[in-house]
Symmetry: C2
Subunit: 230 residues, 2 copies
């Protein structure tokens, strides 16, 4: 995007942190939202992936504000759902329908169900998707699904692979919203953004997770992306 | 593969025809299998995609034999399942467990259910796959899933796109079977064959069909392939 925008980023895992840091680096104003900021900031330990406690990250990014889900949603002219897929609907409800109404919600979550072991299955797929569930639950919000087919590092720095010669998918019901999100993606370095169509296309991109997880095992790195060669 | 092999190709749609023709061109001996050869050869009309009647194709490929599913399965040292996914288990049962025992079955089918309109959903996914269903039903056969993420034309001629710089996935329980199938894929021109693991990985590649179908709409061509950029 050409102009600085206020963004609310919901979620404090590595995905939320990475997106928030990149947006701030691009001179946008950012508030990260979490269920209970005091609890999140009090956590003393690294997460299960070895990422430092949120309070350490927060000290390293003093320009980024921290609030509740509701505060971050209210703050953002545009909002990013970077919560875990299984809790996204709950987190967004906590953010509030009124705070999200009339805004673009960039949904990067995947409905991965880890409760039955590894690799996770999808909690919804084939005839429905998390993207659609969110769009149905928040009809006054314009949901654009994207970035869910790469890891956090690649989301904001696609040029680290093949100088950016790979593809990011995007879907959503509103063309103007998708144009804005495509501009944001391009500001991250994405050069080949493919609009798959309406939000039902989220079935397609969320259903890439099983092959993504297997490819991670086969390649022994999560740092890969799909290029649509045509 | 270095040496000429006898192959049975089950299915007479464009996928079966294209694979059979390429295998014959590569000097393998091929028998195409269909439920009832007399019925298939008697069909006077083009199929719904505009492909000519099977009898026309058969006259153009006099070196390729035609038989029942059972005859083609018995004929092949290696067998290809190119039947439609929804009827694959039935077709393979008709071919016969004894005819398939001890052999590699290359499964290229997708469990697309067109009964509820377009785009089709998958009849099985997420916690199971067609590849797994076939492997369970034919435990004496070594099922290798591959080629199901591109159209028939690209299956046998990957170099028509980006000089072949894109990826074919493969999965199956037996490493020796996968090595043989990889050699066959390389003889078609595939340069980047990624072994995703055991046959449960077929969930991943079959679940790429929804995004494949949406990308077909977005790109306005089915002539595309996924490259795993890393």
């Amino acid at each position: 995007m050409q102009n600085a925008t206020k963004l609310g980023v919901l979620g404090t895992s590595v995905v939320g942190r990475t997106l928030a840091a990149k947006l701030a680096e691009l001179r946008h104003s950012v508030m990260v939202g979490t269920r209970d900021p005091a609890v999140t900031l009090a956590r003393p330990n690294a997460d299960s992936f070895g990422n430092p406690p949120f309070k350490v990250w927060r000290e390293q990014h003093p320009g980024i504000e921290v609030g509740t889900f509701s505060q971050a949603a209210a703050y953002g002219e545009m909002v990013v759902n970077a919560t875990s897929g299984m809790s996204s609907l709950d987190a967004l409800s906590s953010a509030g329908h009124d705070k999200l109404a009339g805004k673009i919600l960039i949904d990067v979550a995947n409905p991965l169900d880890f409760s039955r072991g590894m690799p996770p299955n999808l909690s919804v797929c084939n005839t429905d998707s998390l993207g659609e569930q969110i769009q149905r639950a928040f009809p006054k919000t314009s949901v654009v699904k994207t970035l869910n087919t790469v890891n956090a590092s690649l989301m904001v720095a696609p040029k680290q692979l093949a100088d950016g010669a790979h593809t990011m998918f995007m879907c959503g019901n509103d063309a103007a919203s998708k144009a804005k999100v495509a501009a944001l993606l391009e500001s991250f370095g994405w050069q080949d953004v493919v609009d798959l169509g309406d939000i039902t296309s989220a079935r397609g991109t969320e259903m890439m997770l099983p092959v993504w997880l297997r490819a991670w095992g086969a390649l022994q790195t999560p740092n890969f992306s799909f290029k649509l060669v045509r």
